[in-house]
Amino acid sequence: MPKILIPTPLRQFADKRDTVEVSGATVGEALAALTTAHPDMKKNLFNDEGKLRSFVNVYLNDEDIRFLEKDKTAVGAGDTISIVPSIAGGR
């Protein structure tokens, strides 16, 4: 099963675990499995329309899924999905 690495501030919504194994053949299915198992995770990752929030990037191993096949990107047993924030700013 693919693994999802949980950023520290979100572990409180995942039984304090830093890694969650989920089923799913695509990144979208894996994230859906995560938020089904841990519903409080959902509002942190997705907006009301069910889209990933603007500050959330998802990586499959070392690749941003936006440059792969987005939520349709295939995942396998040895794969690691990371949730990476998107951060910028100014003055």
């Binding site: 690495l5 942190n44 998107s86 910028a88 700013g89 100014g90 003055r91």
Partner: protein, 141 residues
């Protein structure tokens, strides 16, 4: 509250002074114990903003992925992000808010005429509409 240890703090201030008059940015790692976050390690990261870096910064997600991995490797947590405001105060600007992530503390260092002046820490909300000020302890306070 967030506490920044001496070594991490020195690195953050040095990074901010070195990049002056441009904005700097980086990640802060350390343990979280109840309500207290302790910054033990600062990771200066490259400002990847393609335009005028005197007024903007941008972190590459790849660099944040690296920061997250470094934290895990060392049994720590990624707890915050820092950036500098050259020649202006350490407020949380509209641009900061609109490009923030509610999971982290955002430490802003005001650098005036190339020297450290003051710093504040901010906690933006999920909707990116406001940021609460967080109690900040650092060696130059």
């Amino acid at each position: 509250m967030i506490k920044i240890e001496q070594e991490a703090w020195d690195l953050m201030v040095a990074h901010a002074r070195k990049t002056y008059p441009n904005e700097c940015c980086g990640a802060m790692l350390g343990p979280i114990d109840g309500g207290t976050k302790t910054v033990r390690v600062a990771l200066p990261l490259e400002n990847a903003y393609p335009g005028a870096q005197r007024e903007r910064y941008e972190l590459r997600p790849e660099d944040l992925l690296y920061a997250e991995r470094e934290a895990r490797k060392n049994g720590m947590d990624l707890i915050g992000i820092f950036h500098s405001h050259p020649d202006c105060d350490a407020y949380f600007s509209k641009t900061d808010l609109e490009n923030s992530c509610p999971w982290y503390s955002f430490v802003v260092l005001s650098i005036q005429k190339g020297q450290f002046h003051h710093a504040n820490s901010w906690l933006p909300n999920m909707e990116q509409t406001e940021a609460a000020q967080e109690e900040l302890e650092h060696p130059n306070a």
